[in-house]
Subunit: 100 residues, 2 copies
Amino acid sequence: MHAAIQLLQEKWTLHIVRALLDGPMGFNELGRAVGGCNPATLKLRLDHLEELALVTRTVHSYMPPRTSYALAPAGVDLQRVIMAIDGWGREHLPSARPHG
Amino acid sequence: MHAAIQLLQEKWTLHIVRALLDGPMGFNELGRAVGGCNPATLKLRLDHLEELALVTRTVHSYMPPRTSYALAPAGVDLQRVIMAIDGWGREHLPSARPHG
DNA sequence: AAAAGCGCTATAGTTTGTCAAGTGCCAACC
DNA sequence: GGTTGGCACTTGACAAACTATAGCGCTTTT
């Protein structure tokens, strides 16, 4: 539990997982999808997530560089957490667009 | 969603809420319960949580100082999130003691 | 031929969190 | 009755985390 919180409170981690729920992505694409994470932090997070087997990294070609990141099963299981956060946020956080 | 993640990824926030799920606590007591958060950060977080109405602060006496922090309804609702994280952690994170 | 994009890495700079000490007062202890 | 320790914090110097920007070698697009 402590370890899980520790992991999830690292900046961008949850955003990364949420973005990857929409399907595999390349490095820069992912950076944009999460809302502008800088490459240094992004790589740090992805390495960490790969190490913990939440994410898999697949190199399609070295030159030109082409890589994709995808959620592993453990990562997909975080969807429950993300949905819980989403639900809570909608209910309790002031929304920018109350209706549309 | 973005705002919710933003909030929950601040260091100690989830630990604080989890600790308060066990009941109201004083400032220093809470600091110990979350595992050693420093008072500066702790106050910052509590102020933020109070502002967002996740936590209520009650002053019982000014001198000697006696204050307690408790979860407001919006804070209690985070229990779903915390349980989701807990469940995920147990299933997917290497545990220090696999059985007891 | 020039420009833009890929997946990164390096470096410097800003933000965020930490440690230690200290405040003013009271309760308990010796 | 004087000392110690605890309460809820605050302050200020420091370290760790994160950010912005530039650049690499190469291909694709214009």
